[in-house]
Assembly symmetry: C2
Homo-oligomer: 608 residues x 2
């Protein structure tokens, strides 16, 4: 099915196509005249999906759209301070080729006007056996995700028509902003302007900036976030010629245009946008490029004020762990302790991104928990991205809780962002416990609660089969009689006792040790359903309709069992139907206790 976003872009292209004003840039090699009707729009998301309509793959000169990328390269090479000494960050209000420097500072006002771009070009040096121009073209290529080239023929005609830029370069040299040969700086600048890109390339370059400097398709981190922040800031106020304020008001995205017909805009965190249409207005901006950006900003609510409406709450719910018990089947005594003290362990479920607002709501939820809450489980499995603040605040929460004898436990899932690394090197012992699954985290809290509030007798190490709760409805002598019919078995740690698909192999009573019940989810993943301990039973499930074992049972540590085999049951039914009846009734009762338990869990879990 065709995407409605694709359809929207096609409709937008058709509507904006009719704008006939403007004339293409008139400096170009013979035979490479721009065609005024060419028009393309590309939109690339931060995860690399590219939507394109119209002329998306035809190459043209990047021209001034090169400026932010070279500026970023200079910032990365020399640091902010050194670059700021040469080029300011103020919008100029001047035409792009104005020959003037800021009256107070003597520097070009910003790196988006020609004077600033020439100053930047003058700074970029060769390195690692590569010339400055080579490094520039390489950088652009890493942004585009493919090898770009600078056109010799474009350069040749540009250099012959660059009197104003020559003048600017010498002016910059005269005040010491360009420290070496000004003609070399000009050559570097004109070669970077002659790099050939397509509309698709520009969209991916924009998406790389939107993505904090990481190319969406190659995954390469081309610029650090600090550099991206600076580059986008300057593009926001100075990227479009002459009308910085109107651009911010009407479009509200950092952007850059070039006389080659390209326009690039960035929706930070979300997408990159590019338009190709050669006819230019009096300021040197693409007529259709401007209109397309305006339309997209409005229709898709990309303005920085609107696109930022992402603040609400990151805390979805907080609940006591007794509402989501672990799958460890506890004894009645243990269950009672957990019921009485379950409110002392609380799960805080967090969702979305943890930047300021999300972090604040997380911190608020934890800070406002009653002091009687000993264990705080932060379920972060639905957090997609997190900033430095989130890591710092989680560390701060952990330390504050630890200082009061309380504990913070993190659940991160497999793909959650690294929230556990703190910037300041605190003692490692203070790091919070981290679990991938909520079940393990809850189990940890339950064990800790039992340690803290349970009596030593709460978790018996050994339950004789005659004391098994499943047989509780039977009288003592009957239980003794059944025990005599059972087989005594022992298993070592890791032994698979029952396997999926096996036929009913008897009712297994656990005398000592623990058993993990493992099932396979529809994705083929093996998941632990629960953990059973002394006094509990397993194996009866195969009595269900399928007559097959649906789970695998595995020993945890040394295990001692008493097993009532199918043969023993058969013999019992023949020899003592009355006792057999009592056994079956007890097993039914036990089964419905389980069903009941699952139903009660379902009433809580009902995401439904």
């Amino acid at each position: 099915m065709e995407s409605p976003i694709q359809q929207y872009l096609e409709q937008l292209l058709a509507e904006v196509q009719h704008l006939g004003a403007g004339a293409p840039y008139d400096v170009h090699p013979a035979g490479r005249e721009p065609r005024p009707g060419d028009f393309g729009i590309c939109l690339a998301t931060v995860d690399g999906r590219v939507y394109s309509v119209g002329v998306a793959d035809q190459e043209f000169s990047i021209q001034s759209i090169s400026k932010p990328f070279s500026y970023g390269l200079a910032l990365a090479d020399y640091g902010f301070e050194a670059v700021d000494e040469k080029v300011d960050v103020e919008p100029s209000g001047d035409p792009f080729n104005q020959i003037s420097l800021a009256p107070v500072t003597g520097r070009p006002p910003n790196a988006m006007v020609n004077a600033g771009a020439l100053a930047v070009a003058g700074m970029i040096r060769g390195a690692g056996g590569k010339s400055g121009v080579r490094r520039i073209v390489d950088t652009y290529s890493r942004f585009a995700g493919r090898d770009l080239t600078s056109s010799r023929s474009v350069f040749d005609v540009e250099i012959r028509q660059s009197d104003r830029n020559h003048s600017l370069a010498y002016l910059l040299s005269s005040v010491g902003i360009i420290e070496n040969d000004p003609t070399r700086a000009l050559e570097v600048y004109l070669r970077q302007c002659a790099v050939q890109v397509s509309c698709r390339d520009l969209a991916l370059m924009a998406a790389t900036l939107a993505n904090g400097g990481t190319q969406p398709l190659t995954g390469e981190q081309v610029f650090e976030i600090d550099v991206v922040e600076r580059v986008l800031s300057v593009m926001m106020t100075s990227g479009m010629y002459d009308d910085a304020g109107a651009w911010v008001s009407s479009v509200g995205m950092p952007a850059k245009s070039g006389v080659g017909g390209g326009t690039l805009a960035v929706l930070p965190g979300q997408a990159g946008l590019a338009v190709f249409s050669p006819p230019l207005d009096g300021h040197g901006n693409s007529v259709r490029g401007l209109e397309t950006c305006r339309r997209l900003s409005t229709d898709m609510e990309m303005h920085f004020v609107r696109s930022a409406r992402n603040g609400r709450s990151a805390v979805r719910i907080t609940r006591e762990i007794s509402e989501l018990p672990s799958r460890v089947r506890r004894t009645e005594e243990e269950a009672e302790v957990l019921e009485r003290h379950g409110h002392r362990a609380r799960i805080v479920e967090v969702t979305g991104d943890l930047f300021f607002a999300g972090t604040e709501s997380l911190v608020r939820a934890v800070s406002e928990l009653e002091d009687t809450v000993d264990f705080v489980v932060l379920d972060l499995r639905q957090v997609y991205d997190a900033g430095r603040l989130a890591r710092q605040m989680i560390t701060a929460l952990q330390r504050q809780l630890a200082a009061a004898g309380r504990e913070l436990v993190l659940v991160t899932g497999e793909e959650a962002p690294s929230l556990t690394v703190t910037d300041d090197a605190g003692p490692e012992s203070s790091a919070p416990a981290v679990y991938q699954g909520l079940g393990e985290a809850v189990e940890h809290c339950e064990d800790a609660l039992l340690d803290r509030y349970g009596t030593p007798a709460a978790a018996p190490e050994r339950v004789p089969v005659t004391d098994s709760p499943a047989l509780a409805p039977l009288a003592g002598p009957e239980r003794e009689r059944l025990a005599e019919l059972m087989e005594h078995r022992v298993h070592a740690d890791g032994d698979v006792i029952r396997r999926v698909g096996q036929r009913f192999g008897g009712v297994h009573f656990i005398v000592a040790g623990r058993i993990n019940t493992i099932a396979t989810d529809p994705g083929g993943e093996r998941v632990r359903l629960n953990t059973l301990g002394p006094g509990m039973t397993f194996g009866e499930l195969a009595l269900g309709t399928s007559d097959r074992q649906e789970t695998t049972e595995k020993a945890v540590g040394d295990v001692e069992l008493m097993v009532l085999t199918p043969e023993a049951i058969e013999a019992l039914e023949a020899e003592d139907p009355g006792l057999a009846l009592q056994l079956w009734r007890a097993l039914t009762r036990d089964a419905y206790t389980l069903v009941d338990r699952y139903l009660r869990e379902a009433a809580v879990r009902l995401t439904y």
Copy 2:
């Protein structure tokens, strides 16, 4: 427990306090001299939580921080076009009290410099029996969430020292920007500057802008989002005197300062920030105010480029409905149909905010589903906020699917944003089906799949008790014998047949009609656990350990039952232990079939 955010702010206050540079504004009534050491920081979230440290409640003059709010009032009163004719939106690069108009347009460059603010003050008229000044003070009050007042004594000293502003007002009058008495415009302006606010007030005013114009505490929509967008755009480029570009680069938040010592900054969508500290730098900005904003932007990653890292994917998972079956217990024939055709109904689970990136990923996920998917369930219960684009795109998806004989079903939860209202008035019949719960939506899809792909015989209307699957292990004569022991009962629609807490009342076999099983979740909410149909049983659950009914069973339509009462079972056990044994074994088997089913569901659902 004290919030780490509160602690951070306290630490920040202590660190910035030492900055001793600057001098307070020197025009003030006798006895109201600003104290240079006063310092407060307040941070208000869009849901109304206010963090405050230092001097938070002391009143001072709002001064130039009034400008964006009066500008917004004028925009709301007269529309953008009329206001833009009088005041441009370009950063000026001029000091705040510069006597100059833009060379080309003849208008003040923006509403944040005095010339622009005077032009705006000249436009605001009285209405509804209120003077212009009264309306201005009322507007500020609605932003602050409390009644503010303009200080007479502050106005009296200001008006005597306002030669430059007098000059500006007459200059604006000379070029027709101020159309009426320029001294009246000046008076309005000085009265708005004399409004008394606290640091807390300013934080809430900022939070109202951050919140798209809705006051977080009162819930009142003071400005429309369009006006907020414009106001914040101009604040971004022109809110801080003289260094627009540096401000955007280093702080990256729309902001406004006032010579009264206040500084206000806005993190769109997330929070409002205010600082109070009287000493000013040479530009008229609060020295500590600037530093606090810089620190907060860096430490809390509030810069517009960083705070926008919210794009990732809104689609959490897509799965077939057979992985999350409805709680309607289907017959074996029905279950087979659903198993064979379950892939034709798909659940797309969406989370987070639906602005551009989220909407795009939702649209992509749906567009890329195979054509064989007949039913698409969009689970939007974890969507917190959604823009216009999301509504438009969901409507577009719905129409495209409907045109191909496919169906879009929405699950919105109780508090989900209204995603079903489209801007264009399409025919109502084309609106997608909307359910509050996923269960109902899946049930709808299952029913539709059964209609489309099932045989008419799939859902029997009547199952004699002797054909009940629970009794299948027994031979025909035994089943007949048990049937003879049962009571025949009928119930009307809505009858409560079994109620929570009742003792075991027998095994109920459904012959005709349907039964809803209702449980109470820990929050006290009644939730439907499942729906049972002919051939199924209920009531055995009370055989579990508690011996009590854990659920309520309610008739849906006319219901016909056969009930094996506890007395009948007891009699059977006494008279025919062999048959009783077979019954119990069958019930055990049935119970474990249920346990098995729950375990398999758990393996899927394991949010665990």
